[in-house]
Symmetry: C2
Amino acid sequence: MFKVSRKSEYALMAIQHMARLAPDAVVSVADLAAQEDIPADLLAKVLQGLKRAGLLIASKGAGGGYRLARPAGEIRFLEVVRPFEEQIAVVSCHSPVTDCQRTDACSLRDPMSVLNAYLMRQFEQMTMELFVSPHTWLTTGPRTTTPAEATSLGRRA
Amino acid sequence: MFKVSRKSEYALMAIQHMARLAPDAVVSVADLAAQEDIPADLLAKVLQGLKRAGLLIASKGAGGGYRLARPAGEIRFLEVVRPFEEQIAVVSCHSPVTDCQRTDACSLRDPMSVLNAYLMRQFEQMTMELFVSPHTWLTTGPRTTTPAEATSLGRRA
DNA sequence: TCATATCGGACTCAACCGGTCCGTTACTAG
DNA sequence: CTAGTAACGGACCGGTTGAGTCCGATATGA
């Protein structure tokens, strides 16, 4: 469980890499693939996905490549990963993709939705800034969060 | 991502089911499979796994079956799921199972370990009581937790 | 106009997972 | 003592999915 797909890992690496360059620097698939040691063809697909998701901006032709559409601090973890994960849910009951027959009477649905919602909330407030400078992020926390949200799983909202 | 294996789902259902019976009630694989609509052979494997993990106690022979080794409130979510998930980690870098070549220089390792540790902590403090009576659990919270642990991701410990 | 890059469909191969089958062992009710 | 019952566990199988490849099409800047 938990494990993200390889494509997602590559996506995270790519964005992390680009975030460390000059703000509007453009990098080609070939270069990025070489520097991060990722199969070029596969990385190509990944970056296309990220572009379609609105996270990257592509420019074709000689001297072209990709660049970030926004600063890392404004890119959420879930956005990066979602294009490559068809199912973002803990049990089959949730997510329309799967075929949970038990639909109505499913006894896991309820308790798991609690957990699910909780996880989602956490991932929502986690930006790619964490991947650029982990330490800074750790001590300052996500910028978009208000102190009032400091709740823990199972505690009353 | 996140999705647990089918075996894990069956494991959760099984324990939930047994927790709702009388404290030391014994139930056979056949019965449980019929009532929960789960393939019997597969459920057998699952329960064997749970027994090996020390969560269930088996008794062979006529009138035999399985019963909980401890009350649901003392069984943690991770314990139930672990026997059926070889990889409980977000990226390949963690967990000895996989083959992250980049071992040393892996740029995801650091930020992800932050997230990883956080998720683990949450799951540790989540017991199967949630599956027996979700509402009660929601309002009272886990019994084993001290208020001081109410931290959120990204906030200083 | 040519080299360069993105774009995106089609395809292969291997691993994994859900599920099944069947023989073995152990225990208990009668 | 015996027959039936139930856990035990290895072997197997087919479908799905995911990682990775190949290649032609399209756009664009030098």
